[in-house]
């Protein structure tokens, strides 16, 4: 566990980056520090591996004050990923990944074998090993950066806006990958971002920071979205936080109506299917993958897209999105191979929204927020109480 114990940073010129923060970062989980630029989040992260020395308070790593440890040795035991990846331009990818094993004195063969394993783990092709960083895309470089951080299997991972410099599509892929990695590796991750969407997506625990490193709210993502501590946090979360909250809830709760019958015998590889809705018909190909909706009432009407979602993998947000985008208001439920297994109309999706999320605590928070009709819920999470203590300044 990482514990910030009144950790503060005052620059020599007198400006205060962090006043003094108390925070526990639990072992094996992802804690996200999120806040506007200048809130001290990066400073806090860098205190953990002594890239920044606190001017007051302490940072404890499993009970040991990091100030008592040799910085280089400490850092070799902590994974570190930064925004621009920071790969060594003159070294091949494989040797970049093996940096820490080399520093720890592993022999070359063992270090490279480990690096090759990691290349695979972060989803890069084996031939990437021989490349140089400049030959990779930004997203690939970031994957190598993550692999380098994980090479010596450190229990703690510090990630400083690691996905901020890549385009949204690549970013979503990297986030997905991190969630998958974390579900296998269970590292203690401290993640810094200014992107609240990223924070609620990745964090088990989200710490919203104000200027000078004061905690505005500490909560799990669902609580944060449904019961922001105050108007400032609500404003930071953005207007559609309710919708974004749907992105945290699995689509499995949507009642899917199975599609009756097997593959049809339609011409030109299409099999007209019996799903009709006000004159529309859902077309499937021979593999039962949806091709589109066609308006049977309009002569010569063109095929319109049939958006779908995967109940086993997608979120309620994706299901709702599909239903909204569909010309018929019906989203197609898909199996992992992309075959249509059923349909869900908007009502079915909305019905799923009305059910309470599984987390009992989250549900209580949600009720509380709804009861207090406005955004200014009286929701006093543990975090706000802690903020007062931290804000006292040490």
């Amino acid at each position: 566990m990482i514990r910030f114990d009144g950790a503060g940073k005052r620059h020599p010129d007198g400006t205060v980056a962090v006043e003094g923060l108390d925070l526990d970062v639990p072992t094996g989980r992802t804690t996200v520090l999120v806040g506007p630029s200048g809130c001290g989040k990066t400073t806090l992260l860098r205190m953990v591996n002594r890239m920044v020395e606190p001017t007051s308070g302490r940072v404890l790593l499993d009970g040991t004050d990091v100030a008592a440890l040799d910085p280089a040795k400490l850092r070799r035991g902590i994974g570190y990923v930064i925004q621009q990846a920071g790969l060594f331009p003159h070294r091949r990818v494989i040797d970049n990944i093996a940096t820490v094993p080399y520093l720890l004195g592993w022999d070359r063969k063992k270090a490279r074998a480990r690096a090759a394993e990691l290349l695979d783990l972060v989803g890069l092709a084996p031939e990437t090993a021989k490349r140089y960083p400049f030959q990779l895309s930004g997203g690939q470089q970031q994957r190598v950066g993550v692999a380098r951080a994980l090479a010596a299997d450190p229990p703690v991972l510090l990630m400083d806006e690691p996905f901020s410099a890549v385009d949204p599509v690549v970013r979503a892929g990297l986030q997905e990958e991190l969630l998958r990695l974390q579900s296998e590796l269970h590292k203690t991750v401290l993640f810094v971002t200014h992107d609240i969407e990223e924070a609620v997506r990745l964090g088990d625990q989200v710490v919203v920071l104000r200027e000078r490193g004061r905690i505005a709210q500490l909560a799990d993502p669902h609580t944060l979205l449904t019961a922001p501590a105050d108007l400032d946090v609500a404003a930071f979360l953005g207007r559609d936080r309710g919708l974004r909250g749907l992105g945290l809830r699995p689509a499995a709760s949507v009642a899917v109506r199975p599609i009756p019958g097997g593959p049809g015998d339609g011409a030109a590889g299409r099999s007209p299917h019996g799903v009709r809705f006000a004159g529309w018909e859902l077309m499937l190909d021979d593999g039962r993958r949806p091709i589109g909706w066609i308006d049977r009432d309009a002569a010569g009407a063109a095929l319109e897209p049939a958006p779908g979602f995967r109940p086993d993998a997608d979120t309620l947000r994706a299901a709702l999105d599909a239903a909204v985008l569909s010309p018929t208001g019906i989203a197609v439920a898909l199996d992992p191979e992309g075959r249509a297994i059923g349909t869900a109309d908007r009502e079915a999706v909305l019905a799923a929204l009305a059910t309470r999320p599984p987390s009992a605590n989250g549900a209580r928070q949600a009720e509380k927020a709804e009861a207090a009709t406005g955004v200014k819920a009286e929701a006093t999470t543990d975090a706000t109480a802690e903020t007062d203590g931290a804000g006292g300044g040490r």
């Binding site: 570190y80 520093l103 510090l158």
Partner: protein, 230 residues
Amino acid sequence: MNWFTWLGDFFSDPDRRSGSNAIANRIAEHLLLSGEALLYAALLAVPLGLLIGYTGRGVTVVTAMAGAARALPTLGLVTLAVLLAGVGDTAVLVPLVALAAPPLLVAAVEGVRGTDPDVRDAARGVGLTHPQVLWQVCLPSALPTLLAGFRTATVQVIATATVAAYVGLGGLGRYVVDGLATRDYAATVGGALLVVLLAVAAQAFFALLARYALPPGLRAQQRAAGRRSS
């Protein structure tokens, strides 16, 4: 008489085929002297430059001093060195080292300072010690700049090593100085041409080094930098 007949005379003179005044011998002397001067200059300037570039301390002072040092008249330094140290290798080496050191120093400082700050941060962050960062990250990153500094210094030293002849030492300067003294203009022109050719050859050698000897990752970086600046 014209340039071509002078050059014809110069290269056909049997005197310059063997013995101490042979062209091959003079070129060897010239290169040896230049090499010696570059070696001392490098030993002096490169470690200092790397350190200054890494710590960032004294950069302004170094840049100012290097600029001023470039204005030093070499011939004046030779004379001063002869007065102080007497005729000998030192009298020529001191001014040549003084000539070669500033570009090397500046190249080392700028090369290290040019290291991508993110790369340095990451290097520290994954647990490299300061000497390891300097040696494993900043030095490789400084190589292209350092190589360019060596090129400048080498060309200047080769061109200027001609002054060795003024204090009675060997090298290609002998042809120039002796030629002027004996009104043997063929020797002067021939010697001057050889100095130019040698300098051009040095330039080409460093261009090849930059092209083929740098690690691929750095070569790409250099090309990118070249595109940006052009």
